[in-house]
């Protein structure tokens, strides 16, 4: 099953939380720093309200200017201390978040480099990208700012009650009811709101999709005069969006006054009971003010806590995804004693090789095959017959389920994957270039290559002249994925990249995209030079390529059906013969047309 198909619920399981905290362990001073600072700040909020009480009772009410000034100055000092505390926790929590995000991203990226090919076949790049970008961010937020909010909120509420209880226990009992009511209301409401926002998000992704499809497919839309119909379909989605967002919005708008109302009930109770105590002299005016201050302020930690609770679930789900990804081990592991260097003459042998992607669907069945150094092997056969799998096995993108593959007589698993794969040159149907200059892309094949080697490689690939005709020659930027070059130019540059790496073995999926005939000719020549003297496996689509092979393997139903030279196989009048003639039908028309 693909990682994408698992549901990640975001349940608060201890195990996950411990793992998240473990991410913060290397940066424990930051964590300790912000936890101490934020607790101090939360404490200060209560202390300051209390000092204000003294300002009023000892200073103002007692008509004592010295006391007023003393407690007033103390309050000022507290604000200064609190500012320092704020500085510490902003610094620590912020840095901690960045550090954790950095760490997760690095671990994920490095982990991705070790995963096997089959993994990338099963998992979309978009899914992986979101893990590195947004999930890492959410986890970092959880371990820093969200934790901070939780600590601040809870310490704040607890301290407020302690101070109130200390000042006037009876009045505190009267207002204590609001704590559970606030918390329950907040949790209940937050759940409602979160459900609505989830709907909004899912509609939003439909809107984005509608936009991007209509933009990408604008030619079809225009050609088929679909504008009116598309607009009315789109209007349905925006109408839904309007409904859901509005609902989520007014629920949120109701939330704040509701919380405020609950605190106000408590304030009214203070006015009533406290006013009565004030009458009886059981309460000072300063304390009376402090109670109202504590209760009205309590709204904020409650709002913060309920917000964090909502976001936390998403963050925990992010953590589940990230940890699942990090726990995924590559199907292909290097043996502990694997050799780090490799060099091959190019003899490849399949001994009783079987392979399947899933056990109910065998792809290669007990294959035996011996390829001599320097041989060019053309693989032909129907799509899905096993050609690509065979080539992927040679490149060790997959390993045989049964049997062994020998390179120069030795099991290829006795080399590390990177030693082995760096000796195999791969020419892809759709070459992938990286953003950067042409030179950097060729250097990718061999980081140590000199400028002369780069130019030589480009010349051998027939790419030099085309590169020189680009605006900045070898320093021309190719754009993301090579998008600034034409398909033919990309193929030539990627060919030069293979040349510069000087591989012992070539694997090639012949390009079939329509490139103008002249460039095509250059590419064909370049490829011919590359294949000369190297063992190669070519998934062939062109008659000319097939014909120039030393050996043709007709692959079908996971077996080698026919094996031999072109003329051998033609003579057989079997599968190859019918494939060949069928391929010929179109192309021959031209030849006979003369």
């Amino acid at each position: 099953m693909s990682l994408e198909d698992i549901t990640y619920k975001g349940e608060f399981r201890g195990q996950i939380l411990v793992r998240i905290l473990r991410l913060a362990r290397p940066h424990w001073p930051l964590m300790v720093g912000f936890l101490v600072a934020v607790s101090f700040t939360a404490l200060m909020d209560s202390v300051n309200t209390y000092i204000s009480t003294l300002v009023i009772d000892r200073g103002v009410a007692s008509k004592n200017p010295d006391e007023l000034l003393r407690w007033g100055m103390l309050l000022g000092g507290m604000f200064l201390l609190n500012s320092i505390s704020l500085l510490v926790f902003f610094f620590c929590a912020g840095r901690l978040g960045e550090q954790i995000q950095y760490d997760i991203r690095r671990r994920l990226f490095e982990h991705l480099q070790t995963l096997s090919f089959s993994f990338f076949d099963r998992t979309s790049s978009g899914w992986l990208l979101s893990r590195i970008t947004s999930d890492s961010h959410r986890i970092a937020q959880l371990a820093s700012w969200m934790l901070l909010d939780i600590v601040w909120g809870s310490v704040n509420i607890i301290m407020a009650f302690i101070f109130m209880g200390w000042m006037n226990f009876r009045l505190t009992l009267v207002v204590a009811f609001i704590a559970p009511v606030l918390v329950l209301t907040a949790l209940f409401f937050k759940k409602l709101i979160i459900t609505e926002f989830r709907k909004v998000r899912s509609i939003n992704s439909r809107i984005t999709q509608a936009f991007s499809e209509n933009i990408a497919g604008v030619k079809v839309v225009k050609a088929l005069n679909r504008e009116q119909k598309n607009l009315s379909c789109f209007q349905q989605i925006t109408q839904e969006m309007h409904g859901a967002s509005f609902r989520a919005g007014w629920l949120s708008a109701l939330f704040l006054p509701l919380v405020q109302f609950i605190t106000t009930l408590a304030v009214a109770a203070i006015l009533l009971v406290g006013g009565w105590q004030l009458l009886d002299g059981l309460l000072t005016p300063g304390e009376f003010r402090a109670f109202i201050g504590y209760i009205t302020f309590m709204m904020w930690p409650v709002l913060d806590l309920s917000r964090v609770m909502g976001e936390m679930q998403q963050s925990v789900a992010s953590a589940e995804r990230v940890f699942t990804l990090l726990d995924t081990k590559s199907d292909i592991q290097d043996r502990p004693d694997a050799k780090l260097e490799a060099r091959f003459r190019g003899e490849v042998e399949f001994c009783n090789v079987s392979f399947h992607y899933s056990s109910d669907n065998p792809v290669i069945k007990n294959l035996n095959l011996k390829v001599l150094p320097g041989q060019m092997i053309a693989l032909v056969g129907e799509t899905g017959g096993g050609k690509s799998t065979l080539v992927n096995l040679v490149a060790r993108y997959y390993e045989p389920v049964l049997g062994t593959i020998l390179f120069d007589g030795k099991d290829y698993r006795s080399y590390t994957q990177s030693a082995l794969q760096s000796r195999i040159g791969v020419v892809l149907q759709h070459p992938h270039l990286f953003s950067g200059s042409v030179r950097e892309n060729i250097l990718y094949g061999n980081p140590e290559a000199t400028d002369q080697q780069i130019i030589d490689a480009a010349k051998m690939a027939n790419a030099h002249e085309i590169i020189m005709s680009l605006p900045d020659g070898y320093d021309t930027e190719v754009g993301e994925g090579g998008s600034k070059l034409s398909m033919g130019q990309r193929q030539l540059v990627s060919l030069a990249r293979v040349f510069v790496s000087d591989p012992d073995l070539i694997i090639m999926d012949e390009a079939t995209s329509s490139i103008d005939s002249l460039t095509e000719h250059l590419i064909q020549d370049g490829i011919a030079t590359l294949l000369k003297g190297r063992t190669s496996f070519v998934i062939a689509h062109r008659l000319s390529t097939i014909r120039s092979a030393d050996r043709i393997l007709v692959i079908g139903e996971g077996r080698v059906i026919e094996d031999g030279s072109h003329s051998d196989l033609i003579g057989l009048k079997g599968r190859y013969y019918s494939l060949y003639t069928s391929q010929m039908r179109g192309e021959r028309a031209a030849a006979i047309g003369f």
């Binding site: 500012s83 902003f90 990226f109 990208l129 970008t133 209509n214 006054p257 794969q421 990286f434």
Partner: protein, 609 residues
């Protein structure tokens, strides 16, 4: 319930007044919302006065327990009303913002699909999607949060200031003495914070692109064993990203303690002063307590002002980016003056046509040719020679810059675009399928109800029916970005079915079946032949056999027709056609000879044709 007026953007689109002008559509709702907001803020300030009443009443022994109870009830009543008003305020701004956002989305959607091809060519689609989604969202947030947020802060200041003035004008003035300073500091710092944040976001984009390329190019990374280097390169970017993050944190770390200290000192100064006033007998104790709450509501919200102001400037930038799209002129699809015709014959004449894209580099130079009803015209030439431009001019995706194209003797500029396009079918090289069922994709271009039978017949004729039936959900199979992925050949045959169902008289085809195996190729060829029957067809040819059957071959080079004629005529003359042809033919001919030689069965090979 909703008015569906189109967003009109004026040249002021890039300023705040442009945004407000756009908001005028919800003038009533927004004005109402501002009013309830002010009432809610005023009621909150008023509730503080009730506290004053209780404290003073009790201390001066004016108030008995019943009086206290009445005051508590009164307080509760005020707060309930205040809560109701602040709910109305929240609801009002969400509703206004959602109405405006919906309007903006729909206007953008419609506008974009009506913009000319030249516009789409020059505008990366990612950029457009970005503007239609995240920029619209930041405009939405401008109305939902930021605009009213600023109004709220200003009202809090003014109303609490007024309430304080009732208690004591001197106290009110002293309480707000450094408020302008706090506002200034706030704006200054948030300016820095957002600048740092912008750089942080840019680096995030760099990082994302890097990861994306690494994942997509996974095979290449492997085959050159470059993972260590990739990790090192990634780390460099990741580190930089962390640095940028630290930078943002740095400004926050400076700002919040500063703001806290400034606000704190201001409020303490005010309270101590109020304390002296009480001692001097200028103020009652109840007034002082009420004032301490009023002062808090007056001072602390100012901290947020900088954030809102900066967010607003971002909203303005977003709106400017949206306006830029909406100000682009649409291509007119339903020009009323245009000829609407039910039937065309399909005679096309290019009469000295010149064409260039916006940058004025000539793409077509003096192109003239004509074709009769039902003829097939094949276009060949190197990439960039102008052959795609020729076929794009026929449905008026672009307008000619010189000369004239005539359909049935009338300039195509005289037809309405919509009517013209109704007579043209297109099959692209890599057809675009929408995220929808196969059936919907085939019936995509029809403006009437289509039966399943019709769809199936078209699919059968396009030789795709059997492949469709192999899917579990048959015609209801979801395709496109989120659905099953189809092979190039399958997509193309769905596009052929789409064109067959539309049944146009003029057909434009980018003929490439290179991505399919031989058996399928023959099937496609057959369905193409069926499609072309009786229609005027323009075909961008990649294979010789498409050329050979054409009634007219146009050989293009650098925007000009260099050769024109049938296959037989062109191969007999030296020229570009024969050069291209020979490169392709040489190899095949040799193979052909060899195969025939080996098997000695020319007759059989011919019979297969």
């Amino acid at each position: 319930m909703k008015k569906k007026t189109k967003v009109k953007v004026h040249h002021r689109g890039n300023t705040i007044s442009g945004l407000l002008h756009f908001a005028a559509e919800e003038k009533g709702l927004l004005t109402g919302t501002v009013l309830v907001l002010i009432i809610a803020v005023a009621l909150e300030a008023f509730s503080r006065m009730v506290i004053r009443h209780v404290v003073d009443g009790v201390l001066e022994r004016r108030l008995a327990i019943t009086g206290v109870a009445a005051a508590a009830l009164f307080y509760l009543g005020i707060v309930i009303i205040q809560g109701f008003f602040s709910f109305l305020e929240g609801r009002g701004r969400v509703l206004a913002a959602e109405n405006l956002a919906q309007n903006l989305r729909e206007s953008l959607f419609d506008h974009i699909q009506k913009l000319s091809f030249s516009y789409h060519d020059n505008m990366p689609s990612g950029e457009l999607v970005q503007r239609t989604t995240s920029d619209v969202d930041s405009v939405r947030r401008f109305f939902a949060d930021h605009m009213l947020g600023v109004i709220r802060i200003v009202s809090l200041f003014l109303i609490n200031f007024a309430a304080l003035s009732i208690i004591s004008v001197k106290l009110a003035l002293l309480s707000s003495i450094i408020v302008p300073l706090i506002a200034g500091v706030s704006v200054f710092f948030f300016n820095r914070i957002y600048r740092a944040y912008g750089e942080h976001q840019d680096q995030e984009a760099v990082l994302t692109t890097f990861v994306q390329e690494n994942i997509v190019g996974n095979r290449v990374v492997r085959s050159f064993a470059r993972h260590d280097q990739e990790c090192a390169d990634f780390d460099k970017r990741n580190r930089l990203q962390r640095e940028k993050g630290f930078r943002v944190i740095f400004w926050h770390t400076l700002y919040w303690p500063t703001a806290h200290l400034l606000c704190g000192l201001q409020s303490i100064a005010a309270i101590i002063y109020a304390g002296y006033m009480v001692m001097r007998g200028d103020l009652t104790l109840g007034s002082m307590i009420a004032a301490s709450f009023l002062i808090n509501s007056l001072i602390w919200p100012i901290q947020e002002l900088g954030r809102l102001v900066t967010e607003i400037s971002r909203g303005v930038v977003s709106f400017a980016r949206i306006s830029e799209i909406l100000q682009q002129e649409q291509e007119c699809t339903d020009d009323e003056a245009g000829i609407v015709t039910e039937q065309v014959r399909g005679e096309i004449i290019f009469d000295h046509v010149h064409f260039s894209y916006v940058d004025n580099t000539p793409v077509l130079k003096d192109v003239s040719f004509s074709c009769k009803q039902g003829e097939t015209v094949a276009l060949i030439g190197k990439t960039g020679c102008g052959k795609s431009s020729i076929v794009n001019l026929i449905p008026r995706f672009y307008n000619v810059t010189g000369g004239e194209i005539r359909l049935d003797g009338i300039s195509i500029n005289k037809y309405s675009r919509q009517s013209l396009r109704n007579h043209i079918g297109m099959v692209e090289q890599d057809p675009f399928l929408f995220t929808d069922t196969i059936e919907a994709n085939i019936a995509y271009g029809l403006h009437r109800q289509v039966t399943r039978e019709e769809v199936e017949n078209a699919a059968k004729a396009a030789a795709i029916h059997d492949s469709i039936m192999e899917f579990k959900d048959g015609y209801d199979t979801l395709v496109g970005e989120k659905g099953v992925s189809l092979s190039g050949g399958q997509k193309q045959r769905i596009a052929i079915a789409r064109a067959l169902l539309k049944n146009p008289l003029i057909l434009i085809m980018d003929d490439s079946t290179s991505a399919v195996d031989a058996g399928t190729e023959i099937q496609i060829q057959n369905s193409l032949d069926r499609l072309m029957e009786g229609r005027t067809t323009f075909i961008i040819a990649h294979r010789i056999q498409s050329l050979m059957k054409a009634d007219k071959i146009l050989v293009m080079s650098e925007g000009q027709i260099v050769q024109m004629g049938t296959h037989q005529e062109l191969v007999s003359k030296s020229g570009l056609y024969r050069d291209i042809f020979e490169i392709q033919a040489r190899v095949e001919k040799e193979v052909g000879n060899e195969s025939v030689g080996k098997t000695g069965n020319l007759a059989e090979a011919k019979g297969l044709l």
